[in-house]
């Protein structure tokens, strides 16, 4: 129950923000918002001991029974880690944003979006029902879109927002399709139920497809190659947003999805290869591109892509454990997943801190271009220290938490080479080499952040603002993260025991009983450990590459690298826009005639086709009433009058001919025993004709239609077909009366309604509401007529004034 409530608290708070913001009108609003994640963090943290004991919590609000969709929340080790990250980093980011954003910004809007995002994100990690998860998933995309476009007057912000929206939402659609397939196979939307029963369905043809679709969703969200291109453009968002959404939480939703679905799809060869190879390649590609960036934030964006790839690949490697069954080996491979979860937490701490540092530099100096920065250490000592801690942790150096998880990453890769499963063999070695190279590059860009920004020569002439250390408030949040970075290194097993162990149980429910599922995290493995020597290699080669950077940076200008995914995306976007507008113009022409042609053609094809296909053109003339001579004459007169309208030379003739039709109908009403109708028709026809004539006073005489013969023939054909189909349809209906008439009921009018004129009683009593609404329609038409005439008068007056 608490968990369900905790999803809604941010949404409820978001409602109050605009109200409070009107009263407060200052940055005080931030302090109110800060309470929300802080409270949630405290509540969630109180679950840690019981979750560590192996308990889980579920709560269900029944919602759509017929579709099996319920609002079910589920708290286990895995969702606990993510929810703590969301609320914890959320607290720090909001604290930071209070000092970062100026009071002139529309802070109310900002915090509403942020709370919206927080609630959606909690919804994603707590939802047990796939459909509910999907809704929250898309809600994170939408709130991310709003936050990236927060400075909507900038073209780049809008572009970045649109790009991220397009990519992540398309991925979301794919994921939705995957979810529906899972439901089709297993008959359930509940993740836990699917996990329990998926073993029966692995041979279904849909199984593989649904896996691929779910992965597309995860990869787009977590910015995995080739979907990573949206993340660097998303950096147009305010820095607190980048720190929160695009490094610590939202991009990890994809990771969460992979972790959550490991018990479902893990152990399959496709899953193993796809997740780990995409992860490793993203790791390399991200770090390779990060090195060349000159914008600190872009550099961090690529480094985030790369680190996400690292975590992803570890989940891929770890999934192998599920294929091995309950053997000791399986536990061995599960360590990769353990490393993944550990690095996930570590990455949030050091990357969050680094983003905040970059934000501080940008805020204080007005630039984050490393070519213009340098020597900031002397007057920004605190910021420098935090940057140093963050970067060294990212580079994988002791004594920071990044070292621990990176060592475990190397170990997992070394282990993966020995994997007998899936014919890994040489591919395992390839993984190892690529990942190692990527780590070297990671080391290089980590050094760039520290040394090119904070050391070197200070260039005051290239910086617009006077340089000074950031305000105290701005430094609190990154300092806390930096303390975590160091603290986790010295006491890693607190995290391990209380957070990672229950999460491992959640990912490997079948292995839960195996005691050695939990490795101890130790910084020192002895000299024989290959991971240690890999780290040493990283440092040595990294330093060499860092110093010689200007000699090999030409590699980035090589032709194939210029031709990148971004340009493909942009070209496709332009093509799509042009194509759709071309296609729309093809039929939305703006001519009334064309639209009518579509309508009539549709009528001919569908109704005519239906009559033809069902063969319902059987007629029955036996019930026809006899016809007298003068009725024949009137029908003939109407036919002649009708056809003459088409050829009338003047509009006056046409109107009078229309009048002939109307009066003839009035005559028919007399013949057909409908006195009320005859009277009404006669009056209305008179007024209508008068109205036409009145209007002619203002309108020009009509010119002869000079349409080409072809158009006339086509129009004639359409008109003829519509007329014939109407006739055939009406005759068919008359010939096949399928239901008894209900009119007999109304013949009891005197008893039921106290009237002797049946038509009147229907209008005034039986269907009085219809009549009232008819009067309303008349009223509306009257207002319309009145306004249209009135509007014109005023307009003319103004025209006179203008002159």
């Amino acid at each position: 129950m608490t968990i369900t409530l905790s999803i809604f608290i941010p949404f409820i708070a978001a409602i109050f923000v605009p109200l409070l913001y009107k009263r407060l009108q200052s940055r005080k609003i931030g302090w109110f918002v800060l309470l929300v994640p802080l409270t949630l963090f405290a509540i969630l943290a109180s679950f840690i001991p019981s979750i560590a004991k192996g308990e889980t919590y579920t709560h269900t609000l029944r919602w759509i029974d017929s579709a099996g969709i319920h609002f079910t929340t589920y708290l286990d080790g895995l969702s606990l880690i993510f929810s703590l990250l969301i609320t914890g980093v959320g607290t720090l980011v909001i604290l930071y944003s209070i000092y970062y954003l100026s009071e002139r910004e529309s802070l109310g809007r900002f915090y509403v979006y942020l709370l919206l995002f927080m609630g959606a994100m909690l919804g994603v990690v707590f939802s047990d029902n796939l459909m509910v998860l999907y809704v929250f998933w898309e809600l994170t995309s939408i709130s991310s879109f709003l936050l990236i476009a927060f400075w909507y007057h900038r073209k780049k912000s809008r572009y970045g927002a649109q790009k991220s929206m397009l990519i992540t939402v398309s991925g979301g659609f794919a994921m939705l399709a995957g979810f529906i397939m899972l439901h089709t196979m297993t008959g359930s939307y509940s993740i836990r139920e699917i996990v329990a029963s998926i073993g029966l369905y692995t041979d279904e043809p849909l199984f593989l497809i649904s896996m691929l679709l779910v992965l597309v969703g995860a990869f787009t969200k977590s910015a995995q190659f080739p979907f990573h291109i949206w993340l660097p453009d998303a950096m147009e968002a305010p820095t607190p947003v980048s720190a929160y959404l695009h490094s610590a939480t939202m991009v990890k939703a994809g990771i969460y999805l992979v972790a959550r679905f490991t018990p479902i799809f893990g152990g399959e060869m496709t899953w193993f290869y796809l997740v780990s190879s995409v992860g490793v390649f993203t790791l390399f590609w991200g770090s390779f591109n990060a090195v060349k960036q000159t914008d600190l934030k872009a550099l961090l964006a690529y480094s985030t892509i790369s680190q996400l790839g690292l975590v992803m690949s570890l989940f891929g490697l770890g999934s192998a454990a599920l294929n091995e069954g309950h053997s000791a080996n399986s536990v061995f491979y599960a360590q990769a997943t353990f490393a993944a979860l550990f690095h996930l937490i570590n990455h949030s701490t050091f990357k969050g801190a680094l983003f905040m540092v970059v934000g501080i530099v940008d805020h204080e100096l007005g630039t984050r271009d490393i070519r213009r920065l340098g020597g900031l250490m002397s007057f920004m000592p605190v910021t420098f220290t935090i940057a140093l801690i963050g970067s060294f942790s990212m580079a994988g150096l002791p004594p920071f938490n990044g070292f621990l998880s990176k060592e475990m990453f190397f170990e997992s890769l070394v282990n993966a080479r020995n994997l007998e499963l899936f014919d890994v063999g040489t591919l395992g070695t390839l993984f190892l080499v690529v990942a190692w190279l990527a780590s070297v590059l990671t080391f290089v860009y980590s050094m760039i952040i520290v040394f090119q920004t904070f050391l070197g020569k200070f260039q005051p002439d290239r910086i617009e603002k006077p340089s000074r250390e950031a305000s105290f408030g701005m430094l609190i949040a990154p300092s806390i993260l930096a303390i975590f970075v160091v603290g986790i290194f010295f006491f890693p097993n607190i995290i391990g025991d209380y957070l990672l162990r229950p999460a491992m149980t959640a990912i490997y429910p079948t292995l839960a009983g195996v005691g050695s599922l939990m490795p101890r995290i130790v910084p020192w493995h002895g000299f024989t450990n290959p991971a240690l020597w890999m780290t040493v290699g990283v440092v040595v080669l990294g330093i060499i590459l860092y110093w010689s950077f200007r000699h090999w940076r030409g590699i980035y200008t090589l032709a194939p690298l210029k031709w990148n995914l971004d340009s493909i995306f942009n070209a496709n976007l332009v093509l799509l826009e042009k194509g759709s507008s071309y296609f729309t113009r093809l039929y939305m022409k703006g001519y009334l005639k064309d639209y009518l042609v579509y309508i009539f053609t549709f009528f001919i094809v569908v109704v005519g086709g239906a009559i033809f296909l069902t063969g319902s053109y059987s007629f029955d003339f036996s019930n026809d009433a006899p016809i007298t001579m003068n009725e024949y004459l009137i029908v003939l007169a109407m036919a002649v009058a009708g056809i003459s309208i088409l050829f009338a030379k003047s509009r006056m003739t046409a109107t009078i001919l229309n009048g002939v039709l109307g009066y003839s109908i009035a005559f028919f009403f007399v013949v057909f025993r409908a006195p009320d109708l005859a009277l009404t028709q006669a009056i209305v026809e008179t007024v209508t004709t008068a109205l036409f004539l009145l209007c002619f006073y203002f309108l020009p005489e009509w010119k002869k239609e000079r349409s080409p013969v072809r158009t006339k023939v086509v129009n004639g054909l359409i008109a003829f077909s519509v007329g014939s189909i109407v006739t055939v349809l009406a005759l068919a209906v008359q010939g096949n009366k399928m239901f008894e008439s209900i009119s007999v009921y109304f013949e009891d009018a005197y008893r039921l309604a106290g009237g002797t004129n049946i038509v009147n009683t229907i209008l005034g009593d039986f269907r009085a509401f219809d009549t009232m609404l008819e009067v309303v329609v008349l009223f509306i038409a009257g207002i319309g007529v009145f306004t249209l005439i009135k509007l014109k008068v005023r307009k003319e007056e103004r025209d006179v004034e203008d002159q």
Partner: protein, 112 residues
């Protein structure tokens, strides 16, 4: 009788459609007027023609014609009158504003 009227209805519909497809605004409005005539006749025919006397209970007849279509048509006549009136004023306004009653020339700008 029913068959004859139904054919007449089809004929009127044909004329109405042809008028609707023309370029002149007045002709389009005339088209709607003719179309509503056709619709009224069609409704009438559907209820069966000349079977019994007028639906007035005082007549003391053995049977009455179907009153329901009559009620419907009565509503329809009034509504179609409202529509015609509105369209005419719209045409008048359009002409005042744009100086043309030719629908081909009334098309807006290339974009939006």
């Amino acid at each position: 009788m029913e068959t004859l009227i139904t054919i007449l209805v089809g004929f009127l519909v044909m004329i109405a459609v042809y008028l609707l497809l023309s370029r002149n605004l007045i002709r389009v409005i005339l088209g709607t007027a003719v179309l509503s005539h056709a619709a009224h006749l069609l409704l009438m025919t559907m209820g069966g023609l000349k079977k019994g006397s007028a639906p007035l209970l005082g007549e003391d007849a053995e049977s009455y014609t179907d009153a329901l279509p009559q009620a419907l048509i009565l509503t329809a006549i009034v509504i179609s009158f409202a529509v015609t009136a509105f369209l005419l004023v719209l045409a008048y306004r359009t002409y005042k504003k744009t100086g043309t009653d030719n629908l081909q020339q009334l098309r807006g700008f290339e974009d939006e």
